[in-house]
């Protein structure tokens, strides 16, 4: 844990170094397709962005709100099929179709949440999974979506890989931004408290049910949108592939490896997941086994995930939800106490070395 004078003075929010890093990353993302021979990297980063958005939303639920969902693939299906049906059958613009997918996801979430929210823990997890399976079976028997046959999403054929890349980057960046802004808002304060100790949070006035519901709605919306974008990229959708536990495995893997309950966890996790699955293409059949083995090994080495471990050791946070001291903190504390605070912090820091 690092508490230097700067932290105390209230500069944890965004130090210059972090700002530069973020600008560089964003610039690289913007310019990537212009580099020569970048086609493979562009398609890989497209996937990373899509998975990152899914991971951010799953982490919002599992890492902060205490809602371990195994059924978010329902909203990927809803998003994907909304894209297909609204853009082909209804002839709507694909972006409008994707947006509608988000809206329908929220509506669906609202319908199922009263029953799901009566359950907690493992029961909630199983409940969400059952709902997703039921939806998959329903889609497989529904004429509007061409039953289990699947739909060729011709309406997206005109898009180039580069255009899809930029759509995915926009989605990825927005997903991080949404979670970041949420964590910096009042709701974020409530979420961190719920994450650390729900009973204490409630006794201090935090309304757990409504906070969870709010997060669930946000996650439904963006997972639905991400489903739409994922199927802009895939261009062919079936019920069993879209509403598939494969997605949930990906989401949990990314978040747990990256660091559950941290904002950077899903970012790192998505990079690792996509890189790994690309590589494991070479080992068809046993790829899932290898993925599982890696997950187990990682949990044993870094139980809090990569970011969680780094954070515990160094206090480093790229995207910090920390509330900083007010600017006039020294005056408020009085000179003596302020000095003690800095000294205590210095103590800690120097002991680390």
């Amino acid at each position: 844990m690092k508490f230097d004078g700067q932290t105390l003075a209230g500069n944890t929010g965004f130090k210059v170094g972090k700002k530069v890093l973020l600008v560089v990353v964003l610039l690289l993302l913007a310019l990537l397709p212009m580099f020569p021979n970048s086609a493979y990297l562009v398609s890989t980063v497209t996937l990373i962005m899509i998975y990152m958005a899914l991971g951010q939303m799953w982490n919002l639920l599992g890492g902060y709100a205490g809602l371990l969902s195994l059924g978010m693939q329902a909203f990927i299906g809803i998003g994907g099929y909304s894209l297909a049906v609204f853009s082909i059958d209804a002839g709507l613009n694909i972006f409008v179709a994707v947006f509608l997918g988000g809206v329908i996801s929220v509506l669906f979430g609202l319908v199922v949440s009263p029953a799901l929210f009566k359950m907690t823990g493992v029961y909630f997890a199983i409940g969400t999974w059952v709902v997703a399976e039921a939806l998959m079976i329903f889609f497989s028997n529904w004429s509007v979506v061409d039953y289990a046959k699947g739909i060729m999403i011709r309406s997206v054929y005109f898009l180039t890989g580069e255009q899809i890349y930029y759509i995915a980057v926009l989605l990825g960046v927005i997903s991080v931004l949404v979670v970041y802004l949420l964590m910096r808002s009042k709701t974020g304060l409530a979420l961190m408290a719920i994450r650390d100790n729900p009973a204490a949070a409630e006794s201090m006035g935090v309304k757990i049910f409504s906070t969870k519901l709010k997060c669930y709605m946000i996650a439904c919306f963006f997972t639905g949108i991400t489903g739409g974008v994922a199927y802009i990229n895939l261009a062919y959708i079936t019920p069993s592939a879209s509403i598939s536990t494969q997605w949930t495995i990906a989401m949990t893997f990314m978040v747990i490896i990256g660091g559950i309950g941290t904002m950077e966890g899903p970012i790192i996790g998505s990079i690792i997941y996509v890189a790994l699955t690309q590589y494991l293409y070479n080992f068809p059949g046993i790829s899932m086994t290898i993925l599982g083995a890696i997950a187990v090994a990682a949990i044993m080495v870094v139980p809090n995930g990569i970011m969680g471990t780094i954070h515990n050791k160094t206090g480093f946070e790229l995207l910090s939800p920390r509330r900083i001291m007010p600017p006039d903190w020294k005056k408020l504390l009085g000179v003596e106490r302020a000095k003690e605070q800095v000294e205590a912090a210095g103590d800690k820091a120097s002991k680390k070395e």
Binding site: M1, F3, T7, L8, K186, L189, A190, M192, A193, R195, D196, N197, A199, A200, A201, E202, S203, M204, G205, V206, K207, G261, R322, R323, M325, P326, W329, L332, L333, R337, E340, Q341, A344, A345
Partner: protein, 241 residues
């Protein structure tokens, strides 16, 4: 009427385990009421009933003349209850500043900016202002107990419910907790304080209630209760120290 909070004929069972049979208590305005009783007597359960974590099987809880037996925890927090947990439950991955802010924002209804100022005041009050930027998970036991009190105060309560805040502390540390509770009382709050340590009860409370066998056995001035035959019977002579 001088009562701010009272419990009338409270009973609660968990399955076949009847923990409280019939408990009556009254807390006066600006009073510190101590509750003693053997392990497993149901002291924590009683506190949970008062603050709304548990609903009693029978009886009622009256706060400022209103029946609040069925009011939710968050609602009771808003109308004026603050509580600590026997085993401190800090938000470990949040700083001390943030820990206290939670109550000021959600319990007292302040904006985050106001809550920050308030949190700093409270930190000074409880003697943790040199730990504001520390993660609560890194605090020692005395500091955790202080933070428990700070977080309970952050919701701007009228009634403070303390569950063994002195437990596990050294003699000197206990002294500083007694001083802290006295300061809380001087600020106009009413306090219910569960504790095992006799000294805290004698020095820190206005009245003591003995809870045993599922009921309020005796209630009165600290010296009287401590020397009563009821206390001696319940503790079987172990209380002479």
């Amino acid at each position: 009427m001088n009562e701010i909070l009272s419990a009338k004929d409270i009973g609660i069972s968990f399955g076949s385990n009847e923990v409280l049979k019939s408990v009556n208590l009254a807390l006066n305005h600006n009073e510190v009421l101590g509750i003693i009783g053997p392990n497993g007597a149901g002291k924590t359960v009683l506190l949970n009933i008062l603050c709304g974590i548990l609903t009693p099987t029978k009886g009622s809880v009256i706060f400022e003349g209103q029946d609040i037996t069925h009011q939710k925890i968050t609602e009771r927090c808003r109308i004026g209850f603050g509580r600590t947990f026997q085993v401190p439950r800090p938000f470990e991955k949040m700083t001390v500043l943030e820990n206290i802010m939670v109550g000021s924002v959600f319990g007292a209804g302040l904006t985050e900016k106001q809550a920050k100022k308030k949190a700093m005041e409270i930190a000074s009050f409880i003697g943790l202002d040199h730990r504001l930027t520390w993660f609560a998970g890194k605090l020692g036991l005395l500091e955790r107990k202080r933070l428990e009190i700070g977080r309970a105060l952050s919701t701007d309560p009228k009634v403070l419910l303390l569950d063994e805040v002195g437990g596990g502390l050294t003699e000197t540390e206990v002294g500083s907790i007694i001083d802290l509770v006295k300061k809380v009382k001087a600020n106009g709050l009413s306090v219910i304080w569960i504790e095992h340590i006799i000294r805290t009860m004698l020095e820190g409370t206005d009245r003591i209630l003995l809870l045993a066998n599922g009921t309020d056995v005796i209630c009165g001035l600290p010296q009287e209760v401590m020397q009563s035959k009821e206390v001696r019977e319940v503790y079987m002579g172990n209380e002479d120290k």
